[in-house]
Amino acid sequence: MSNPAVLSSTIAGADAVRGELSGPRGPKPRSVLSRRNIFLYGTLFLVAVYYLLPLYVMVVTSLKGMPEIRLGNIFSPPVEITFEPWVKAWSTACTGLNCDGLSRGFWNSVRITVPSVILSIALASVNGYALANWRFKGADIFFTILIVGAFIPYQVMLYPIVIILREIGLYGSLWGLVLVHSIFGMPILTLLFRNYFASLPDELFRAARVDGAGFWGIYLRIMVPMSMPIFVVALIIQITGIWNDFLFGVVYTRPDTYPMTVQLNNIVNSVQGVKEYNVNMAATLITGLVPLIIYFVSGKLFVRGIAAGAVKG
């Protein structure tokens, strides 16, 4: 016997989402220039400054020459804009003998991120679906283990994973790294997918079973098409997480497949005389560009997706 409040929004996943995001729900603010509004916007503005400051400093610094950095303060805009640091960070900064900057790592990062994101989301969404809709005995125990697993520091697992990868012969290969990313992405993603699928009306699932669709049929033809919001969330989280990963990238691959973050670390940490802050900042920005763009473009979808059920326990 389902709760009518839930049922009323069952017409369509998309519909439900639209319903929930029809707009802010808080109390209505008073007139435009009320004291309250000034306080509200003032606070938001100040907080926004705090959040933007580091980005501003990064951008500004990356466009300055070294002499200017040494003299001026970090907040002043560049007197003379130069793209030299960007070019250097991308194509000529050295680590050891390799002086091809971040460019080499960029494509490695792409090659690592794409399959890792696909595999981890595929696994986690199926897990979440099985947990939400096809509960079998013991499933909860595994899920609990998984959630506890989310709290295990990666460093603790480095060594056992080396052994596991060695035993299955994937150590040092791209697929080994993809597997590691999928394993460590599993807890949180499974939680998100499970919560989302559980928030979908159970009757749809039952209707599909009466219609004769099996485990995979329901997943592929009913659940996945209804779950775009949560897939977007998972996509954003995974792309960001995997793109930004350093530890696994450096431990489980070899130098010719090192991701961009390893190169970033090399550039930033291999100090040649003076720290070239402008190059460091440019390198940092270039490395962060992919996830940053994703966030700036899809921030709205992200909130929408989370609102659509990911957080409903």
């Binding site: 793209f83 040092g172 070899r254």
Partner: protein, 412 residues
């Protein structure tokens, strides 16, 4: 316009990685030499190896041995070893050898008569386990140097000190001139190393060995070592405004005259060279802090994991030979600022400081260093202690000495 150029540069560099593929045997060599002087020195090794018709694939991992070592060890134990890898010779790779993961180089060593050419002999001893040779020492690095900025002392109006005590005496004048008397970077190994240098310089070789070789905890708690802690206390007071992390940033403070002195190994010399400074004119160096000139025979070595591939194994042999080749030795060590491991090479090109080192070496005033004497575990505990001691002015030398003695007592 600028944008267009940048775009072109970006496009060009994107395509590069897929372009060149070498035909000769590729050997991947991992190391953590990424600073300016270090990278230049590695380039010499790579050049020499490439000249043999093989190809050196550089696997530099920045961030000092601490970041790089776990990766190297994981790869060797994970079954995906590189062709060769840098370790500090000594006890770091001991277990890998015992586990049968490393290649026995005895045949190459016999052919190249290493036992005859490598000097001092203790270097090769560190590479020898159960009578077999497992590594190639490439240089001698000694920690016991005090680097001084002539410009800083000039500015403060005091003469360039001749030893540690004079530096301590000059500290107030330096501070008045806005100069940090002693630069000690925030990385834990720097403070720990500086302390060892102070012990060797103030206490002398026997004291040093009694603590680190005999691991005499009682002695470590005694008055001889208290003197060393007193000196370390001076050092941390002088260093308290350093505010940098990396050793070469600290060195850079000396190069630019922001700091007057630094206790650092001879690799710092590479930084002075890259910066275009001349020994004797722009900077001075005092081996053994001017108190007790000795050379510690620490240093770097290359280890070769056991590989299945015939071709690669052969290339490993070639690399091992190349590393000890007199020409390579000279070229590498000049850039690195370290001393060559063979006595039969011509080092006319060496600068003042290097020559001082060579003289001491020739006299046989050598001693082992902590890398050979202590396990990494003990080293790390020491690093924790001294990084805390240097950062936390409220920790008394007495407390620190007590903890130090405990560490020595449980050391292995």
């Amino acid at each position: 316009m600028r944008f267009k150029m940048m775009a072109a540069a970006l496009a060009a560099s994107v395509t590069l990685p897929f372009a060149g593929v070498a035909s000769a045997t590729d050997l991947e060599v991992t190391h953590w030499w990424t600073s300016g002087g270090e990278a230049a020195a590695v380039a010499e090794l790579a050049k020499a190896f490439d000249a043999t018709g093989n190809h050196w694939i550089d696997g530099a991992i920045a961030g000092s041995g601490g970041t790089a070592r776990p990766i190297m060890i994981s790869r060797i134990t994970g079954g995906d070893p590189m062709g060769a890898t840098q370790f500090n010779h000594g006890r770091q790779a001991e277990e890998l050898v015992q586990a049968g993961l490393m290649r026995d180089l005895t045949d190459v060593a016999t052919k190249g008569k290493w036992t005859e050419v490598v000097r001092p002999k203790s270097l090769l001893d560190s590479c020898t386990i159960d009578g077999k040779i497992y590594c190639v020492p490439v240089n001698i690095h000694s920690w016991q140097w005090l680097w001084l900025s002539n410009e800083a002392f000039e500015k403060a109006g005091v003469p360039v000190p001749k030893n540690w005590d004079e530096l301590v005496a000059a500290a107030p004048a330096l501070e008045k001139a806005g100069i940090v008397p002693l630069a000690v970077g925030g990385q834990p190994w720097q403070s720990s190393g500086a302390f060892d240098v102070l012990m060797a310089a103030i206490g002398g070789k026997d004291t040093f060995l009694k603590v680190y070789e005999a691991k005499d905890a009682e002695f470590a708690a005694g008055p001889d070592i208290a003197k060393v802690f007193k000196a370390a206390d001076d050092a941390r007071k002088m260093a308290k405004n350093t505010n940098v992390q990396d050793w070469n940033q600290a060195t850079n403070m000396v190069i630019t005259g922001k700091a007057a002195a630094q206790i650092m190994g001879d690799w710092a010399q590479g930084e002075f060279q890259v910066a275009g400074k001349t020994a004797g004119k722009d900077y001075s160096c005092l081996p053994g802090l001017g108190l007790n000139p000795m050379i510690a025979t620490g240093g770097d070595a290359f280890y070769f994991p056991l590989l299945k591939d015939e071709e690669k194994s052969k290339a490993q042999g070639v690399l091992a030979e190349t590393l000890l080749d007199p020409k390579t030795q000279v070229a590498f060590n000049l850039k690195k600022g370290s001393l060559p491991v063979r006595g039969d090479v011509d080092l006319n090109a060496a600068n003042d400081c290097m020559k001082k080192g060579l003289d001491i070496l020739a006299k046989g005033d050598v001693m082992p260093w902590t890398d050979q004497l202590l396990s990494q575990d003990t080293q790390k505990q020491k690093e924790d202690l001294f990084s805390e001691f240097f950062a936390n002015q409220s920790m008394t030398p007495e407390d620190a000495q007590k903890r130090f003695a405990d560490i020595i007592g449980s050391a292995d």
